[in-house]
């Protein structure tokens, strides 16, 4: 399994941050993603994202980040959001992260990290 990390930094409240990333060239199938932050509370209350793999929309715009977040009580083996076996094609991963204002949190710049889990060969145990 190939595990990759992609970071976005949100520096302005209410802003959108776009990231274009390339998956490892050896990765043939994207099987899951995970999302974390250095400020989970901001991610939970303020975040939403659109994720595209090439032309495939994995998560639509305004899909709230909290629906993908993972708590500490979850076994590490289960902390990935599975996507089936998406063919990576040319491996272009587009992420549009949106921060929207919430009176429950006070904004400060924060990092949002996306992890991509992919495999070279589906028949290989992973």
């Amino acid at each position: 399994m190939i595990k990759e990390r992609f970071d976005l930094t949100v520096t302005t409240a209410g802003s959108s941050v776009k990231g274009e990333f390339e998956l490892d060239k050896n990765a043939k199938h994207l099987i899951g993603i995970a999302i974390t932050s250095d400020r989970d509370d901001l991610l939970y209350y303020r975040g939403s994202q659109k994720i595209m793999l090439n032309d495939i929309e994995i998560f639509p715009e305004d899909f709230e980040s909290r629906l993908l977040l993972c708590g500490l009580h979850v076994p590490p083996d289960q902390r990935m959001v599975t996507l089936g076996n998406l063919s990576t094609g040319n491996g272009k991963l587009d992420i549009l992260y949106k921060d929207f204002n919430s009176v429950l949190t006070t904004f400060s710049p924060y990092r949002v990290t996306f992890y991509a889990f992919s495999v070279v060969n589906l028949e290989t145990p992973h």
């Binding site: 939970y44 305004d62 899909f63």
Partner: protein, 143 residues
């Protein structure tokens, strides 16, 4: 093939009643699950507080097929299988999330000539100082 549709309504007034229409893709066959979330509360985001009521109906169903009492910070139903166990019930500043619950899948067939989901949402917050908030409806569709 699956597609997730997100529809967001902003509730600007206390006791507001919002009528909503969600256009479904032409090739939708089935609504596999529905998830509702709320955001933007200004005070007391305590778990399980009643926020509003939501009704949804499809033309091919003679009556409401989905009605939900929307509560704040209740573990959301899930759209992706592996998200089943890690939905936070409550989050504070620096507190660990301690609980979560899987959602229940609701499958509703959509007929070929019924491509609009309609319904309404009623605000039920009993707050002295009302703060506008958003209600998001996530539809997990089978195409």
């Amino acid at each position: 093939m699956h597609k997730v549709l997100v529809h967001t309504e902003t509730v600007n007034n206390k006791a507001a009643k919002l009528q909503l229409q969600i256009k479904l893709p032409k090739d939708v066959k089935c609504i596999q699950s529905i998830t509702i979330t709320t955001t933007g509360f200004g005070t007391d985001p305590s778990p399980k507080r009643e926020v509003g009521w939501l009704w949804l109906r499809l033309p091919n169903h003679s009556d409401v097929f989905f009605a939900e009492i929307v509560r704040s910070n209740v573990p959301e139903a899930t759209l992706v299988s592996s998200a089943l166990e890690f939905l936070p019930q409550e989050i504070g500043f620096g507190e660990a999330w301690i609980d979560g619950k899987s959602g229940t899948t609701l499958a509703v067939d959509v007929s070929e000539d019924a491509k609009i989901l309609e319904g309404f949402y009623t605000d039920r917050l009993r707050e002295t100082f009302f703060v506008p908030y958003q209600v998001s409806i996530y539809l997990n569709l089978e195409l």
